[in-house]
Amino acid sequence: MSIHSVFIRHIERLRRLVVAMGLSAEEGQDILQDVYIEAVKGPPKYLGDKEALKWLMKVAVNRCLLEFRQRKRHNRAASEILRQWEELKKDSSWPDMQAIHAEEVEAMMQCLREMDESLQVPLAMRYFCDLNSTEIGAILDLEPGAVRKRLYKGRIILAEALLQKGIKL
């Protein structure tokens, strides 16, 4: 399968990865466009399908990180996400969505904004893109054990942010 086909086949996965990095839809689409161009140009050497996907994800992650650094990351206003969340909540029948409070969303938004990207990226890849530690490690050039340590650290930071705010669970 050509790398272009791998891109098309896994576009939803790539999109989720970009979404979880906190970029707006417009910024994210620009990034996917760049990843697509890289896919058309092709990787430096021939890659099998699995390797090609990892390569594309790596390109997407690096492109997102570049965007973060250029735009001082997470430039979307928390109020915008909150407004969208309120709208989503109104229309959603998903019980988890109904049970969540605005102060929890605010606390997690702030925590994500302040979190180091070395923790945030693995978190997004593990919990939003459903990649395991080995897959994440292959994309980020990390040992699976190092990925797990970052995941633990990120999860604890998020949990402690809720406890620090004194939000009743």
Binding site: L32, F128, E160
Partner: protein, 178 residues
Amino acid sequence: MKEDTCQIVSKEELVAYADGELSPSVAGRIAKHVAKCPNCRSMAEALQRSLQVTEVIWQTSESQWPKTRLLERFQSSKWSLRKIAAVAASILLVLGVGAVWRMLSRPTERTGISREQALAVEIKRKISESSDAARLLAAAELLSKYPEAENSVKERYQHIVETYPETTAAAEARQKIQ
């Protein structure tokens, strides 16, 4: 913040417990401890809750994406390259056939269109239609490999059937729709 003074279960173990990554025996041991230890219980709850809220934030961001248009955007850019190549090939073919035909069947009268000229135009049209329909069919078949593009593929087959009904490609598209 509550102090984590528990010496029995580490935070890392609590994360693994919250994520269901422990063996049943270890998970059972931690579950018993969590039931008794208020610090570990609130940390375990916070671990679950914070992830739940974070997922909602990601999903909220995701909901702002024009999901269906995304795939089309990239497929259409590939399509453009194919289209340009196919159209260029069709034009060359038609021009070539036209030139040969003109050489073989010059009109006897300076005014009006000869029967041969009319026939040449008709042949050109049929070649062009067949070429366009075949090109569209090939593109639709390429797209049909991707489940996300199912609706787009159906629309393309329908378009072929309606626009080029007399072509072989339309016959094939009809079968695909059925």
